[in-house]
Amino acid sequence: MALDVAKYRKLFLEEAAEQLGEFSRALLELEKDTGATESIDVIFRMAHSIKSMAASLGYDSVSEFAHSLEDRMEVIRSAGRIASGEELNLLFRGLERLESMIEVVRETGEPPPPEPELLSELSDARAFDPSTQIVEAKKKLQS
């Protein structure tokens, strides 16, 4: 089966726009209530869905970036809440970046490379793990 890339790109752009809207609304809810589990689930699912659609079209950088957001949300889901304002800010920056990557796909038909630094920040799950922060704070005090 030969994939009709133009048709699926259009579908991807339509569906991703809706999902980014849901992502944004859920993030604003999380800003009000950092333990809003339904909003955490929504962001997880939106990142997961964009990851799979982008991978299907060979938009590897978009898929990789959405995957790192999904992984971050998995950590947050396990914790049951956003760990800090810093983590919330990271998610806002992640959303903004994902929106801009998809905008590039809309304009050029090709995805840009992700920001390695933001990707690295998203992948650094330990940074926002409260237990890790406590252990590291203790180490600093002892040294």
Binding site: L11, V42, R45, H48, K51, S52, A55, S56
Partner: protein, 122 residues
């Protein structure tokens, strides 16, 4: 040839599965966009096979598998998984799902997996 129910919250993915399996002679009898709809449509349509996404709103794909199999232990369900969902796939298989296909879909793999399950059933 099988009557297939597709359960996935993304229309992109539902359409892709449809376009892979229909040329093989299978007919898509229903599309569900969440786990609750998947269970309801299974009851209503009694399909030969279900392709079930794992991550869906309202009720997850795994919960939907359990819900369908509780009433229909012989139901043929194929999980649609993505990278990093190995544990969830194992849970679904332990719950009674027959097999799984991985996103991004490879058409030959999707067709072969469905064919293998249907042959075992016949």
């Amino acid at each position: 040839m099988a009557r297939v129910l597709i359960a996935d919250d993304a229309s992109f993915m539902r359409q892709m599965i449809r376009e892979i399996i229909e040329p093989e002679g299978h007919s898509v009898v229903g599309e569900a966009t969440n786990g609750i709809e998947a269970v309801e449509q299974y009851e209503e349509l009694q399909p030969d096979l279900v392709t079930m996404d794992i991550v869906m709103p309202k009720r997850s794909g795994i919960d939907a598998v359990k819900g369908i199999l509780a009433k229909h232990p012989d139901a043929c369900i194929v999980m649609c998984s993505a990278l990093g969902q190995e544990t969830l796939v194992m849970e679904a298989l332990q719950a009674g799902a027959r097999d799984f296909i991985v996103k991004p879909f490879k058409p030959d793999n999707v067709v072969a997996t469905i064919q293998k399950i249907l042959e075992k059933e016949s």
